[in-house]
């Protein structure tokens, strides 16, 4: 409970005694490159293969001749939009970006760089963390949209290359009974997950105490806590919005 209280106080500290707007614009752009652009490669790999595997495994389970092949496309689409693109990518995002945020801030803490900022009269949490949180909330939904396309495309490639489904059937399947709200739901989830990963990781890194070993522990703890928070939020959002 003490940690949760400290976490919310930390979040509050991001918005007090801020620097000028132009300072944040530059920092957010820099962080967007670090957080967003440099995560594209891993997102491309993970989402394409997840889509492919989903298509192949769905095809494997469709043994009844009464179920049309286009269902493969439909299942890949719904699984991708509702769960795979926002949630699995969030777990990957927590592993890559979350550990990076916690490790970076933890190192800054133990080498007194955060103290140096505080002594200069700069609100270190706002200066260092707010741009990371905003950049994550801006870039992660874009990564999820990319993951969504690639996941469905991966399913298309795997399905057609293994002759499990024809291209026409798959495309018919992904257009069949499409509910636009699922896209809104996916984007809401992605913004919430990005906030959770970036803020929890920043919190863990910002309050690191000790030396190099503790920085490693903070990074691990950031990823673990982010994953738990993602799964909890995933359930709550599904319960609330669907």
């Amino acid at each position: 409970m003490k940690s949760i209280g400290k976490y919310f106080m930390f979040l509050g500290s991001l918005f007090v005694n801020r620097e000028s707007f132009r300072t944040y614009v530059k920092l957010i752009l820099d962080e967007s490159i670090l957080i967003g652009v440099k995560s594209i490669f891993i997102v491309v790999i993970v989402s394409t293969f997840i889509g492919a595997v989903t298509a192949v495994q769905t095809a494997f389970n469709l043994v009844s001749p009464l179920i049309a092949n286009y269902v493969i496309g439909l299942i890949v689409r719904d699984m991708t939009i509702l769960e795979l693109a926002p949630t699995i990518t969030a777990i990957v995002f927590a592993g890559k970006v979350g550990s990076n945020i916690a490790g970076g801030l933890g190192t800054m803490r133990i080498t007194e760089q955060i103290d140096a900022l505080e002594v200069m009269g700069i609100n270190a949490s706002s200066y260092l963390v707010l741009p990371k949180v905003i950049a994550s909330m801006l870039m992660y939904p874009l990564l999820v949209i990319l993951a969504c396309f690639l996941c469905i495309y991966g399913g298309y490639l795997a399905g057609t290359l293994t002759n499990a489904v024809t291209g026409e059937e798959y495309i018919y399947g992904i257009r069949f009974g499409f509910n636009e709200f699922t896209i809104s739901f996916m984007l809401v989830k992605s913004v919430v997950f990005a906030f959770l990963v970036s803020s929890i990781s920043a919190y863990k890194g910002f309050f690191t105490k000790g030396g190099a070993l503790e920085v490693g522990i903070a990074s691990t703890s950031a990823v673990t806590n982010s994953c738990i928070a993602i799964l909890l939020a995933d359930y709550l959002l599904a319960q609330l919005l669907l």
Partner: protein, 252 residues
Amino acid sequence: MIEISDIKKSFDDVEVLKGISGTFYQGKTNLIIGASGTGKSVLLKCMVGLVKPDEGNILYDGRDFTHADRDLKTEIRREIGMLFQGSALFDSKSVEENVMFPLDILTTMPKSEKLERVNFCLQRVGLSDVNNKMPSEISGGMKKRVGIARAIVNNVKYLFCDEPNSGLDPQTSILIDNLIHEITEEFGITTVVVTHDMNSVMEIGDHIMFLHKGVKEWDGDNESMLTTDVKELQDFIYANKFMKRFRNNPTI
């Protein structure tokens, strides 16, 4: 001038500072000395606001820092420069960007003026042609100099140095000590240095405060320190064989 009165600080059940009072004078190099674990660094951190004292007041030219509101605290902090034990340079920024950082954030100076000021400060600490180097590419002594340049770049009124010559060879230590002393006199800064290095004490100690087990046992200048009758201070000064020769033969 910085005045502290009755500063107390405990961590859990351990009382680290037990009511320390004293004055640090403008234009002088004020030293806080004492053995390891006597609370020197904690006192310094209380003074710059990194640690909140449990009791007591810290006055910066009459302005109460301890009980100040956020705006006054920020105003005073922007008049403070600090050299950290490990230099605390931002590793992702070059030397030039490190020194320019306080100007980028705290001022609206045009870029050319900032660059001029950065180059002046780097030259003042005896560094040239290092602007584009990264902190990982320069030596420990150079890092300390860059740290000093960054600390004074914004025309600070107060300079704090936490063990400025730890990890440095004796020659570089003396260079850094002298640099701090010269800058203090040249710019009329109130400088507070935490050290346990007797060379620094004898070289630059205009005003010295001796701490022992969280209590101020003595303060004065470095010459009167050698003739002190405070036993703890005597033990501290004459701990090594070289200094013991002075104790046994004051005419040296």
